[in-house]
């Protein structure tokens, strides 16, 4: 046997066992630090995402430059029709937009993180403790809903004949609910939303400049939702692209009103996109843990309320 193969074999057959005491000793420092990190996070007020973006000098400068170009020149948002400086986004979006759309066409699936931020009437912001992970393939969709650290709910939308089977499980209520219908998950599909924005970039209201998101240099665009549908002008959407891969890294919807609370609005943020992820085969297979009861969550909540009153 060659020495390289012998070493490989030794590595493969090597094993080290630890006792729980040893594990505690090894991991102790890290767990202690994690706890401090958690406390620090909960103590600190969640900063305004918009402010973070606009805090960077380069973004302010880019925003100022964009405004100056529009005010002084009264010309298009796109100042350089043939950028040689690598800043492709300064060229006409019709050209690079096609390139992004072609890239998006090759995406077979995506996962991302979604969270909402509640904006109060005084402008203060509160990040929701619930957050989701979305898994999307060409024909199926899954949403894992977390409340803090706790996985509260999983929803699946999978093909069922000509329609869609919707199955959800609630870990907090130990229940599940299933129904088939004509519905689809189209409204939640992030790739479709990306395509939609890219096609609208010709009409973008603002170039938000460059900033670093999730370690990538990104460029952002702001589009008023008034540009599509019957939406008011003050509903604003933003999309950020990785300047290297040109793929979207973040999408934001601002200004949407909270139902029954007209003085409050919310921001929805989708980020941490993972394109064509290597997902376990059963990701889109609905499952129900043993012992869960079949009931709609509203029914269970109503029954619980009734029980409390009695």
């Amino acid at each position: 046997m060659k020495p390289a193969d012998k070493i490989k074999e030794l590595i493969n057959k090597s094993d080290a066992r630890t006792t729980s005491e040893t594990d505690k000793r090894i991991l102790g420092g890290a767990l202690e630090h994690l706890e401090k990190l958690k406390q620090k996070k909960s103590a600190a007020k969640q900063p305004n995402l918009w402010r973070i973006i606009m805090k960077t000098g380069i973004t302010k400068l880019a925003a100022a430059a964009a405004i100056a170009i529009i005010v002084l020149g009264g010309i298009t948002l796109w100042p350089d029709s043939s950028p040689d400086n690598g800043k492709w986004w300064l060229g006409p979006p019709a050209a690079w937009g096609q390139e992004i759309l072609a890239q998006l066409d090759t995406i077979k699936g995506v996962t991302c993180h979604e969270q909402t931020v509640l904006v109060m009437s005084d402008g203060s912001e509160h990040t929701s403790s619930t957050w989701d992970i979305l898994y999307v393939s060409s024909d199926s969709y899954r949403r894992d809903i977390y409340d803090g650290d706790f996985l509260r709910e999983i929803q699946w939308y999978v093909p069922d004949g000509d329609g869609t089977l919707q199955h959800s499980i609630r870990y907090d209520l130990k229940s599940y609910f299933t129904h088939s219908g004509e519905g689809s998950f189209g409204n939640y599909e992030p790739i479709e939303r990306m395509r939609f924005y890219v096609r609208l970039l010709d009409e973008a209201d603002r170039l938000l400049g460059e900033t670093v998101i999730e370690g990538c240099n990104c460029v952002g665009f702001e589009i008023s939702a008034g540009k599509y549908g019957d939406n008011p002008e003050n509903w604003v959407d933003c999309i950020w692209f990785d300047t290297e891969t040109k793929l979207p890294v973040r999408m934001e919807k601002h200004g949407r009103p909270v139902t029954d609370q007209p003085d409050k609005t919310f921001i929805t943020i989708q980020d941490q996109f993972n394109y064509n992820p290597d997902l376990p085969a059963d990701t889109f297979t609905p499952e129900t843990p043993e012992g869960f009861i079949h009931a709609h969550p509203d029914e269970i909540k109503a029954a619980m309320e009734k029980e409390q009153k009695e």
Partner: protein, 179 residues
């Protein structure tokens, strides 16, 4: 994807997620640590330091490749510092004394199997630099180009360290067969 979610949950302060990452990769890390340092107590300390650094860097951490690769590279970096410090200490203590493997405290309770002991003993005959390249190549599955980049050396240097190391191992392993 599972690793991405675990990292995400760690970022949110989940002890369970950190525990799962530890359970998933502790053996790989201990094997690397033993092969590089040839000392049980130092191996345990190294894994401790790797997880501490991981948590300390969580706020700005972004998983771009494999988590296993990241943790093993981190372990190799820590091991290099440990090795340097150890060499420095032994030179200061007595320049005439050769560097000998450390004695392990009886309280350390990691059980290493025969193959790992054999691997560690064989590796102890190589220079630290040779061990590092061989282990990163075989265990972390890194290419010479990636190893070179992470060590700040040229790809040719990484390859020659590997080649000389493997040549030396051929002699050591042949000797063992003869015995």
């Amino acid at each position: 994807m599972e690793d991405k979610l675990l990292v995400l949950r760690c970022k949110r302060g989940s002890r369970d997620a950190l525990g799962r990452i530890y359970e998933k990769y502790k053996t790989d890390l201990l094997i690397l640590a033993m092969a590089l340092l040839n000392e049980k107590s130092a191996a345990e300390d190294l894994v401790h330091d790797v997880f501490l650094s991981f948590v300390q860097s969580l706020e700005r951490f972004r998983l771009t490749g494999s988590l296993k690769g990241y943790l093993l590279t981190c372990a190799a970096n820590h091991a290099r510092n440990t090795n340097k410090a150890k060499q420095h200490r032994s030179i200061e203590a007595d320049p005439a004394e050769p560097v000998t493997p450390g004695t392990d405290e009886p309280s350390r309770s990691i059980i290493y199997n025969e193959q790992l002991q054999q691997l560690s003993d064989a590796m102890a005959h190589l220079s630290y630099e040779q061990r590092e390249v061989i282990m990163l190549h075989f265990q972390a599955g890194m290419t010479f180009k990636t190893i070179a980049k992470s060590l700040g050396i040229s790809a040719n240097t990484a390859k020659s360290r590997y080649r000389y190391g493997i040549d030396k191992l051929r002699l050591i392993l042949n000797d063992e067969v003869k015995k």
